[in-house]
């Protein structure tokens, strides 16, 4: 074989290489160079969040095997043969008003969960946050595509509808319906239908002072209200009790509701996780569930997949696991993921933490460049904006940061 060289850096190439091992130059002319962007469509690529590990962003660097350091070709190490971690294996979103973390866990090959957080400005000028977590159904084909589209569509539509003045419950239904239609559209046939669960949370500026927090769901991903510690409550306010805001569309829940089994019996059954509703081309007729809570006092909304709640099924368990999660949402999300992994990590783990009341996080709290955490509120007419990506300052540069309480004059 004639010796091949990279057109970019002249490093030696091997037959069949798609990327230059040295500089990451894409050699077949299809798509971006390695390192130029993380995994397509998720996290940084859709502007919703940050892919923190393990794919580096910024200038392409020579990357060896994540396990043994040897050369990598076509995604496999040429030494130990191990498939290299995907950019989706661990994803973190850090917005001004909410954060989330999503992790492969310890048992699954891929992370098939997705999350999206979108901030927008309500018609009254106050901030609002729409967050969606979707859990890809492992037995369906490419469930990661379903969850990604479901979360993206849901959060965007939810924020846009509310920003345009829609009633929160209706907006929640509209968003879920749009997500369901999108995911159903991925199916190439009834037998080849990517599928996922869905749970959304809508938190407005009046949350914590009697305003509604609206939850929508299909499937067994959950939302919880977790009050802050007593210290965080204003004088005269008594913390409410932690509470689950969703009821699973699962066989177990159905058995319990029918009085056929106790909660414990149902959870111990092999069918406990069998879904009776989901989003997908092969799903039963869409039955959107909506609930609301109107706490008076501080706390946080947790939106999560079963990879977390399997280990902390009761709202009290979650509240005890990470006290005062809303004080530092990203740290709390990371801690939840770590705890679930330590408990076994049998499934993908995703959790979004939204502090109540909404309040911007200190810019330097997590070491990223301040501009990377900017969060903008656009006028309703232009629709919602997404949280910017950290640490990718280039993407946030065109926007000037705005903070709650300082309505945009642009």
């Amino acid at each position: 074989m004639a010796e091949l060289a990279c057109p970019e850096c002249r490093a030696e190439l091997f037959d069949g290489d798609t990327f230059c091992e040295a500089c990451g130059k894409r050699l077949d002319g299809n798509g971006p160079d390695a390192g130029a962007a993380p995994a397509a469509g998720f996290g940084a690529a859709n502007g919703h969040g940050t892919v923190i590990a393990p794919a580096p962003t910024g200038p392409p660097v020579r990357s060896g095997c994540a396990y043994c350091g040897a050369r990598v070709s076509d995604g496999y190490c040429e030494g130990c043969g191990l498939s290299q971690p995907s950019a989706r294996d661990h994803v973190e979103l850090h917005l001004d008003l909410a954060s989330g973390a999503s992790d492969r866990g310890r048992r699954h090959k891929k992370n098939e969960d997705s999350m999206a957080i979108v901030g927008a400005t309500a018609p009254d000028g106050g901030p609002l946050v729409a967050a969606v977590v979707c859990d890809g159904v492992s037995s369906s084909p490419t469930p990661e595509n379903a969850s990604e589209l479901g979360a993206d569509t849901g959060a965007r539509v939810l924020a846009a509808e509310v920003a345009a003045g829609q009633d929160p419950a209706r907006a929640t239904r509209a968003a879920l319906t749009a997500a369901a239609q999108g995911v159903a559209g991925l199916a190439t046939s009834m037998r080849s239908a990517p599928a996922c669960t869905y749970v959304s949370a809508l938190v407005g500026a009046d949350a914590g002072s009697g305003g509604d927090i609206t939850i929508g769901w299909v499937g067994d991903s959950r939302a919880y209200w977790v009050p802050g510690t007593a210290d965080g409550a204003a004088p005269g306010e008594r913390p409410t009790a932690p509470v689950a805001l969703t009821r699973d569309d699962s066989w177990a829940e159905q058995m319990v509701a029918a009085g056929a089994l106790t909660a414990e019996e149902a959870q111990n059954s092999g069918n406990a996780h069998a879904l009776i509703a989901w989003l997908g081309g092969d799903a039963p007729e869409l039955d959107v569930h909506v609930s609301a809570i109107a706490p008076r006092g501080p706390g946080s909304i947790l939106v999560c997949s079963d990879g977390l709640w399997n280990y902390f099924p009761e709202a009290e368990d979650l509240a005890a696991a990470v006290p005062d999660a809303g004080a530092d949402p990203l740290a709390a999300a990371r801690t939840f993921v770590r705890l679930a992994n330590e408990a076994g990590g049998h499934d993908n783990i995703t959790v979004v933490v939204i502090p109540v009341p909404l309040r911007p996080q200190p810019a330097a709290a997590h070491g990223g460049p301040p501009s990377g955490k900017a969060f903008s509120f656009d006028p309703p007419a232009t629709g919602p904006s997404t949280g910017h990506v950290q640490p990718e300052p280039a993407q946030s540069a065109p926007d000037r940061p705005h903070y709650p309480g300082s309505p945009s004059n642009e």
């Binding site: 191990l82 498939s83 866990g105 310890r106 090959k109």
Partner: protein
């Protein structure tokens, strides 16, 4: 090398392994197409036909051999280089007179057939010199697709060590299809030649020879690329347990490995026309964590020579899971070919035991062979087995037949390595897979 046929590699396996498990199995299917029309017609090719001319060939056998050799010569295309050799205790050039290949043309074809017509049978059988002469005459044609046909009717009168050295020398220099006629030749001995030289072996009746030789020559003319290797990369601390061709015949290539760079070895597959072959590869790898995926084998078809070309690649994967529903599934093709390999071994072991008057082992192995042949839909082998062993339908008890025709037994032995696809050749889809 611009005219190579298009190769495809397809890997069948269950990549899901139970936690702690280390053994990865895969069936690698290789298919070459588009070669016979363009590439083969322009490929440089060389052919040597070796006819056993020992005294025992006298009569119907030598007459049939001469007709067969002429048919083969007629099947060679113009421009190919060829020679015809008579083999006895030594060698004798039939055509051309000198020990060299000549170009096929209308004139040389006629001269060769006239020379074949004058062939007589006399003397003994020493096969080493036959093969050495072929190797010598192929020497000036390094780029050519080199093929020999060897016909014998007797046993090799040569020291095993001497003959083994010859085979080692010839391996990789040319492909040799071997044929036996009558019942005085030794199947194991001739199979040793065809295995070493990546060819086929079969038993022929005199009346079958002409068609068979023509077919062999035509197949040789259909080859478009020579010296293709199956290159298998394995991870650090992995062990390649075996590489076996499992279709169209069983051929263990494990011992034929030559190292080809870090963590990789080449297994010779000879020359290819438009054809499909399957390989069963087994790799032992270090066990991985749950959810971890490993490339347990990286298979490349590599065309040889200085300008090495990778024709196609495929991945053998391993993925560890605690989901038993996934890890306990047998891949149907892996299971099927595991059964076909066991079938070939059971026949050969059974016949060897029978030769050694070990009736107990012979009955057990041939009975098992019958069960495997019938279950897997290998009707061709089952038919041959029925001439040697009968199995009681009710009890399943096997019994060796008495007074077995020697030719039937040799046919069974020779053809024991022929495999069928899943469910037999005609059936499609996953059927009654063995194992």
């Amino acid at each position: 090398m611009s005219d190579l046929p298009a190769f495809t590699v397809h890997v069948d396996q269950n990549r899901h392994l139970p936690l702690g498990s280390r053994e990865v199995h895969a069936v690698v299917s290789v298919e070459a197409s588009g070669g016979s029309g363009g590439a083969a017609a322009h490929a440089q090719a060389a052919e040597v036909i070796i006819i056993d001319a020992s005294g025992s060939m006298h009569g119907a056998k030598i007459a049939a051999a001469k007709r067969a050799a002429k048919a083969a010569v007629d099947a060679l295309r113009d421009g190919v280089h060829f020679a015809i050799v008579a083999g006895t205790d030594t060698t004798q050039m039939i055509y051309p007179p000198q020990e060299q290949l000549v170009e096929v043309s209308a004139a040389t074809r006629e001269d060769a057939k006239a020379a074949i017509g004058r062939l007589d049978a006399y003397g003994g059988t020493t096969m080493g010199p036959w093969l050495n002469l072929a190797a010598r005459m192929f020497e000036p044609f390094p780029q050519a697709i080199k093929h020999a046909i060897l016909l014998t009717d007797g046993q090799n009168h040569e020291l095993t060590s001497t003959f083994d050295r010859t085979l080692a020398y010839c391996a990789g220099r040319f492909v040799c299809d071997c044929r036996g006629v009558g019942t005085d030749w030794n199947v194991e001995e001739v199979r040793k030649i065809s295995s070493a030289l990546l060819g086929t072996v079969d038993i022929l009746k005199p009346e079958e020879m002409e068609d068979d030789f023509r077919a062999m020559a035509e197949a040789a003319m259909g080859k478009a690329v020579a010296d293709v290797a199956l290159r298998v990369w394995t991870p650090q601390n992995a062990t390649l347990r075996f590489v076996k061709q499992v279709a169209p015949t069983v051929e263990d290539l494990t011992a034929k490995r030559t190292e080809s760079g870090a963590q990789a070895g080449d297994y010779p597959t000879g020359s290819w026309g438009d054809e499909a072959r399957d390989y069963h590869i087994c790799v032992e790898v270090p066990a991985g964590d749950p959810g971890r995926e490993m490339r347990a084998g990286w298979v490349k078809l590599v065309a040889g020579g200085a300008a090495e070309t990778v024709l196609a690649t495929g991945n053998i994967l391993a993925e560890w899971t605690d989901d038993e529903a996934k890890s306990t599934q047998l891949n149907p093709r892996v299971a099927h070919y595991t059964g076909q390999v066991e079938l070939a071994a059971a026949i050969q072991e059974g016949l060897r035991a029978r030769d050694n008057n070990d009736e107990h082992t012979a009955t057990a192995r041939l009975g098992r062979a019958m069960q495997l042949a019938e279950e897997s839909g290998n009707e061709g082998t089952a038919r041959l087995l029925r001439k040697v062993v009968e199995v009681d339908k009710e009890s399943g008890t096997a019994r060796l037949k008495r007074n077995v025709d020697k030719e039937d037994e040799m046919s069974l032995n020779t053809r024991s390595t022929r495999t069928v696809g899943i469910g037999g050749r005609r059936a499609a889809g996953p059927g009654n897979n063995a194992g």
